[in-house]
Symmetry: C2
Subunit: 360 residues, 2 copies
């Protein structure tokens, strides 16, 4: 059995933590145990993921006194305060104390909710991310953003709470549906666009290998994505500045997700369409040539990702929903745009009619 | 109009903030405005407090663009995730963004919930405490502990989130019901017991002045209480050590509150009975003479505070409920006891039969 492992570090002072990337990591019990501080663990997953992986994670924790299993319904539409309450109920019923460790086994929804539960339970307990979707592995499990949705806006209620470690077992990608795989690749493409042009060019070249889920290509893409994210997060943990570039396509994407109802478009799908809008806007402002927008669209189309917003969404609906985005500061709409490939900026002075023209 | 003002500082590095104590502070608009960062404010109060003070606070904010008023139902039984949702709904409906400031005008319940809402809304916004009960002024508004209750335990869901300032207008105490006044004085007595013997002796002497609500006595008691609290919090913001002494009587008190149903005993009443239990236990362990326990009971009785737990609570119920207290660490019951007057310690090695004997 080959256990191939790469270790990255997210550098955040006393909140620093490692990211482990490799194969068959669940069988390496020591890896998890080293990051469990007390004698209690709660494994949080969902109905889809639990039957696949939870028993293996549980085995690795055989020396822990109390292991609770909390299985949530599957889907973005359950990323709510009500579902969070289910986690709190179980933690209290089972007698978890302040030294417990929550372990999120699943995709971005499970990770975001488990992290937020850990941030709030008894005013903060430890947690570990074990992301099982590509999107969670390259994005949501790293960086400490946690939270739930509100009917009026995505991720509107949450906390910054860093995990003790992130454990990425790429074997989990073999069972991932194609649609989810593509949604994860959208975020991978994002890193190239915002801050890593060589990686962006590499992605154009190696997309067939990634879609065929070739191991070495997957490890390279995940490692490079996590490195880029870790670097941005280390510079600006609480998003007072540069971290906002990680949201390329997200202001538009969140509006799409909110308008369509959570769970209808996958997050990565909405981000793909949102990145195309942001790129088109960057072309309209004269920042990049139109050929780059076309190249991006063709790359995303090879992954069966949307490159346009839903037909039934009008400009007004976009602008209203974007007005609730967290990147609005005192009435100013802040957007992430490209100054070039691999060079994103946050700007508050895009004329609204330019935005409307691209959306129309 | 005499505006008498004392200023204290809670020293927490970049999270430091001032506490203003005085009369007629609401009319000093600049004081509030100096701590409002953006152009949006949400005033959070309850049905009892809103008619008394909210208009005056609102007047002081005449230069702010958006002022939302959120009025919650009054009572500890509403300190829940469901009520928190009401705050989030209004903030989103009214379009509050990440630079908004939440202002809590009310007692401990309003302050704890508003602070927790501020900790979670868009992953953290500013907030200001304007405590209007003695208990909130001397305890809950200072130190950054925020949260809500769960049916299985008090303050089980929450966050550490420091306010930008605390504004204590002692004029609010003139309308405070006697029972609430006494509940606040219980926490004042606590500071003397745990870390300030001279203040404890002063309280015995000046209790009549406090009960008569004499201005100079009130200011002295509030200032001394806040100073003691600020000092302990500055040493240990996140309660990894010494801060736990602030919970003298609270482990027993929380069990009483949970058993009786939130809102039946006031928090300060439960703490009074809890402090008597902890003091009796300290006597049983030979730490202090029995005369001190009797003196404390007689002091609390002068304020019409309970000195014994409810008759219908048995030892087993106490121990079960205390097992869920946040001060339980990996199965060890940690208690705050007195080593002497003005000298509290946290200990995990009190024999359970000694605890049971004092409760029985």
């Amino acid at each position: 059995m080959t256990v191939l492992m790469h270790t990255l570090h997210v550098d955040l002072g006393e909140r620093s933590y490692p990211i482990y990337i490799g194969r068959d990591l669940f069988s390496d019990g020591a890896l998890l145990r080293d990051h469990v501080a007390g004698r209690q663990v709660a494994l949080v997953s969902n109905e889809t993921v639990a039957p696949l992986y939870v028993d293996r994670v549980r085995e690795a924790l055989s020396e822990v006194d109390l292991v609770s299993e909390i299985v949530l319904p599957d889907g973005e539409q359950y990323k709510t305060l009500e579902t969070l309450q289910v986690i709190f109920d179980r933690l209290l019923q089972d007698g978890h104390n302040r030294s417990t460790t929550l372990i999120a086994v699943g995709g971005g929804v499970v990770g975001d909710m488990t992290g937020f539960a850990a941030a709030c339970y008894q005013r903060g307990v430890n947690f570990i991310q074990v992301p099982t979707t590509l999107l969670a592995q390259v994005d949501s499990s790293v960086g400490g953003k946690t939270g739930v949705n509100h009917p009026l806006g995505k991720n509107m209620i949450g906390a910054f709470h860093q995990p003790r470690c992130v454990l990425i077992d790429i074997d989990t990608l073999h069972t991932l549906p194609e649609r989810e795989m593509a949604a994860g690749l959208a975020e991978v493409v994002k890193y190239g666009l915002i801050c890593d042009e060589p990686f962006y060019r590499w992605l154009h070249e190696h997309m067939p290998n990634l879609l065929a889920r070739e191991e070495s290509a997957l490890v390279e893409a995940i490692e490079r994505s996590c490195m880029n994210k870790a670097q941005v997060v280390a510079e600006d943990e609480r998003e007072t500045g540069v971290r906002a570039i990680l949201n390329l396509g997200h202001t538009f994407g969140h509006a799409i997700e909110t308008a369509q109802g959570y769970g209808s478009w996958l997050h990565g799908e909405a981000v793909a369409a949102g990145m195309c809008i942001a790129t088109r806007l960057s072309v309209a402002l004269g920042n990049i040539p139109e050929t780059e927008a076309l190249a991006l669209e063709s790359l995303l189309q090879r992954m069966n990702l949307p490159t346009k917003p839903p037909q039934d969404m009008g400009v007004d609906q976009f602008l209203t929903l974007m007005g609730r985005d967290k990147k609005v500061s005192d009435g100013q709409l802040r957007l992430v745009l490209l100054r070039g490939i691999g060079d994103a900026i946050v700007t508050a002075d895009t004329p609204l009619d330019e935005v409307a023209a691209v959306l129309g």
